[in-house]
Subunit: 624 residues, 2 copies
């Protein structure tokens, strides 16, 4: 990895920062956040502006360029990568370290008095604008919205915004029609006494209309906004994709519909002016509902007194609770995914052990190949983390030619991968050894497994928030003085984003919504030994009602059911560290893998992988 | 309990709400919060204004009186009590229930347009003022400070503010002189670049000056404020207590001291004008540090640009980490406390079983009597919860003649009690049965015990916040569909308030400070069967470094050491529900009780209680 040379680019950016063509008044600093206008986690190439200006292409980071300086804030996952990818024009600001200034403090320290700090108001979320603007103002500076994105003005070969065809999902996948989703949304709006709801997150637009796209890699979403009124539906979307007969039929664009279900299709770029018109039309006490993470530009379109902002939108919350069609789809997707992984691991054992010719990249490609053979496969759900030995300790590792290692019988191999199928989204991590693991490796693996089981088998009362379960995953590790520095689980979409709110299992959040039956999260504790190995065991699990002796005075109880059904390598387990209960959990889990995945392997005629599965699901025997 | 008749009082209050003598403009609503001017949890009789106006004397509740309505907000602990104590003039607002409006929403719904809502600015914390003021303003009303407390104007027989003598604590108790505490505080102030620190919490004033008082029952504090500058110390305190030679000597009031340690004593009531003078004297960039829970009146005395507000003050944080003198004092206090409880339980067994003449009140009084026989006993640390049978299910129960039950061999008895000794503060709960507990009672008790042990024996990395341990206390209960609706632990002061911040163990908090070696918290899971029984097992525990196999990559590990050494009734334990590890924990704990408390009982010549202790600490034997 050699750094990107940015001298010329920064010169150009500093010129446009002063150019009356783009800015009303010169700005002394320009902020380049990571996100797109929808605050997406994964973004399209045309939105990778921070990577373009700096060279640093990690998933999180904010660049700020002043007349004299260029600085990049990113977190611990990316210190190394950012340092490698950026040239000497850039100062790396290591977030989380004690001496690292905040962006605001740094700006105040380097800017001349009375400076203007510019930012694209479509990219910066309203809450972040508020915080930053306040801090700058109190130091005598001004945060100003710069309408034209200044990076775009100098990015001559900027790719076009993708505009790919849409996929329509019928009731057998979604369980609920888009009309019924609109009805439910309007009833939530009536409850909160709001007249309008603005859908800004891409996965929320996709979910609401039972449509999927492929504008962003790994996320089956498309660029669009929607504005839902009590009697109107406006969908802001570009391109000829609305000409597709299947889409027109799905959205009933050419039918005679009740007016309140008639969708008005408008250009993607007209959202701001339309929203401003809505804002201008409001009478006192009429409210517009937006996510508090919506962009500053859209939030400002509604006068402050009319805004109703919440951290989680009603769509985000409804989307998280999967209905029967969705959970059945997720089950099917996970069965297919398990078939692909059984094939992969069987293949790896045959290739790695005697030949030693499989690299991390080859293994990742092979995993994709096996997945792509499965019905309704669409794409991967995130960049495959295929890592062996020390690379496994880099939590967000993705193999590239410069780092690509060969799998061997001497190292632990960690594979964190998943796919989008038309019926569901998967995300699974397995850690294996193709030779003989050391006692220490087995010990660490077993603690991680105990943590995984502690969450998966946890029983808790209805209304419990996921963050209250996080410590269960760590207890066995903590007892020996080990820990891992990431959360334990995230929400998973249904043929949608592999990371979604509003629930999760993490010590870091407190604002998560309570877990409910039908929600789907990951359970993925780990342990990482820098420079040596990484261990993670991840299943996607469904929240289901539990049966308990006393049922919390009829408050009801919940637990998890693993949707992921891929063997956990027993060779890595030190059985003596498991309790009998934990041992039974593993055996029951493997029994289920054998039954469910075995039947599917049989059906697909994958006999060799079936033999591998049978072998890998032999019951553990614990000697008392 | 018959309700207080408040018709006449409310009439008087509504008159003064309109009287130009007290209010500049009539107020259409008047808020009566629970607290005093120091936001104390326990308050002096003269500050029990909400109880005076409504009759409801629980520890939490806010009254709001309008021209037409009188409403009381309180939480689930007090629904029953408030309903009993208040007459029909009052509407009970059950906080935590879905349909209960917030105070702001309710005010907006009942007030005529453009109303004024009055509140005593000394009683309402600044953060609460801000929230409420904003909500009212956005609905066209105004929150206004009413200087004279309107309740005080109609409370003709209002008791005087207490002004009792002070106790000086020498280095053997405190470990650090008040001068060194001032030096440390000033260094924290310099770090944050503030020039002044305002001490508003009573326990913080007491801790800072190594003084104690008895102005508030159960809390060894005295009414005072302090304002610490970089070269000045001002103590705002009333009465002739500053004439006490011991106090003068302790504070070196008559010595020739370096000027920066010279304490200026000023009248308690002059804090506001003095602080306003400080506020008026500030130059740009000069800051004054206050707790964000300080009163609106004091916060407003400092112009906004000069305020530095934090949720926890540096004194609060320093006070929480006990030094060796303090932990040694706490150990001594807990040994004495255990002696008193061994005596009590031995006495109860002798009295309850054959005679049946002991009531909850008699038992509580006897507990106080035994405690008062111990060296350096000062007072109780909170109202004794002495409860048998169904009363045990009322979490904050305090026996009064109307509810007083007789202890019997048929009911579970729960005693939650503690004391202030000059060397430390105690808080212990034991649950016992004097006859034969049912299998269900034993089952529940054993789950609670498992939760208690899970926290007490937990090992966790340095920097862990207490709320991450809360679920450990619930896991065994959850497995069977049982839970308890309170937090698991609170910080405990050292001869100070039995509840103190900034640490604790609760699912409810997220803003707690990380646990550190030297902090002291309670560990008190429970289970409550309404109308039947209550179970709680509470020890006060000290955070200590732990030894682990891998020590968190040198981040260090922590665990707890029980300071409370009182037998846990083995009769209540279903040994078969314990793991071998849990069984060992109980036996080790009892072994330590026997050794440490046994020696003290021996020393004090309390042979009968010693025999009881020996009997109660017989090891458990678990049949595999």
């Amino acid at each position: 990895m050699s750094p990107k040379i940015t001298t010329e680019l920064l010169k150009q950016l500093r010129q446009v920062m002063k150019s009356p063509k783009y800015v009303q008044e010169p700005v002394q600093a320009y902020i380049v956040p990571s996100g797109d206008a929808h605050q997406s986690e994964y973004i399209a190439p045309c939105d990778c502006r921070r990577a373009f200006i700096s060279g640093f292409d990690g998933s999180a980071g904010t660049a700020i360029v002043t007349e004299q300086h260029a600085a990049m804030w990113t977190d611990g996952r990316y210190f190394l990568q950012a340092a490698h990818q950026m040239d000497n024009n850039w100062t790396l600001m290591k977030m989380g370290l004690k001496d690292t200034p905040t962006q605001e403090d740094w700006l105040v320290s380097v800017l001349p008095e009375g400076s203007k700090v510019g930012v694209d108001p479509f990219i910066i979320p309203a809450d972040q604008w508020k915080r930053m603007s306040k801090a700058l103002r109190s130091a005598g500076h001004d945060l100003v919205p710069v309408k034209e994105n200044l990076i775009d003005t100098i990015w001559t070969d900027c790719p076009h915004r993708p505009c790919k065809p849409l996929i329509t999902l019928d009731l057998s996948y979604t369980g609920v029609s888009w009309r019924d989703k609109i009805v439910a949304l309007r009833s939530k709006m009536a409850e909160r006494k709001v007249l309008w709801f603005v859908v800004t997150a891409l996965d929320e637009v996709a979910w609401l209309f039972n449509l999927r796209g492929s504008d962003v890699e790994y996320n089956p979403v498309f660029f669009a906004y929607a504005v839902i009124g009590m009697t109107t539906i406006r969908l802001f979307i570009d391109g000829d994709r609305m000409m597709d007969p299947a889409v027109r039929e799905h959205l009933q664009l050419d039918s005679t519909l009740e007016p309140e279900f008639k969708i008005q299709v408008m250009p993607y770029g007209s959202i701001l002016s339309e929203l401003q018109a809505v804002g201008a039309s409001l009478s006192p006490k009429e409210k517009v509902w937006l996510s508090d993470k919506a962009s500053y530009a859209l939030t400002e379109a509604i006068p402050k007194a009319y805004r109703y902002l919440t951290p989680y939108t009603p769509i985000c919350i409804a989307k998280a609770v999967k209905n029967t069609s969705e959970t059945e789809g997720m089950r099917r997707a996970h069965i297919k995914d398990a078939v692909a992984l059984c094939e992969l691991f069987n293949w790896l054992e045959k290739e790695v052990v005697p030949k030693g010719t499989v690299t991390e990249i080859i293994a990742a490609d092979k995993a994709e190949e096996f997945r792509s053979q499965q019905k309704d496969f669409v794409e991967l759900s995130f960049a495959t983390i295929s890592s062996t030995g020390p690379n496994g300790a880099i939590i967000h590792y993705k193999p590239v030619p410069e780092t690509n290692r060969t799998l061997s019988v001497n190292e632990i191999y960690l594979l964190d991968s998943g796919a989008q199928y038309k019926d569901g989204t998967t995300d699974v991590t397995r850690t294996m050894h193709f030779g003989t693991p050391s006692a220490y490796e087995k010990e660490c693996f077993t603690y991680v497994l105990k943590g995984h089981i502690a969450v998966s088998a946890a029983i808790f009362p209805n209304g419990t928030k996921g963050h209250l379960l996080d410590s269960f995953a760590r207890s066995a590790l903590w007892d020996c003085g080990l820990d891992y520095l990431h959360g334990t689980g995230h929400g998973v979409g249904s043929f949608l984003n592999v990371h979604e709110g509003p629930c999760g299992i993490s010590y870091k959040t407190f604002a998560d919504e309570p877990l409910e039956a039908g929600m789907i999260v990951s359970d993925e504790p780990g342990y990482y030994e820098d420079g040596s190995f990484g261990i993670r065991i991840e299943n996607v699990v469904l929240v289901i009602p539990a049966e308990t002796k006393y049922n919390f005075k009829n408050r009801g109880s919940l637990t998890f059911e693993p949707l992921t059904l891929v063997p956990i390598q027993t060779k890595m387990i030190d059985v003596n560290l498991l309790t009998q209960k934990e041992c039974n959990w593993v055996n029951d889990y493997h029994q289920k893998c054998r039954e469910v995945i075995g039947a599917e392997l049989e059906r697909q005629g994958r006999h060799e992988a079936l033999r591998w599965l049978i072998r890998e699901t032999e019951p553990l025997i614990r000697v008392q």
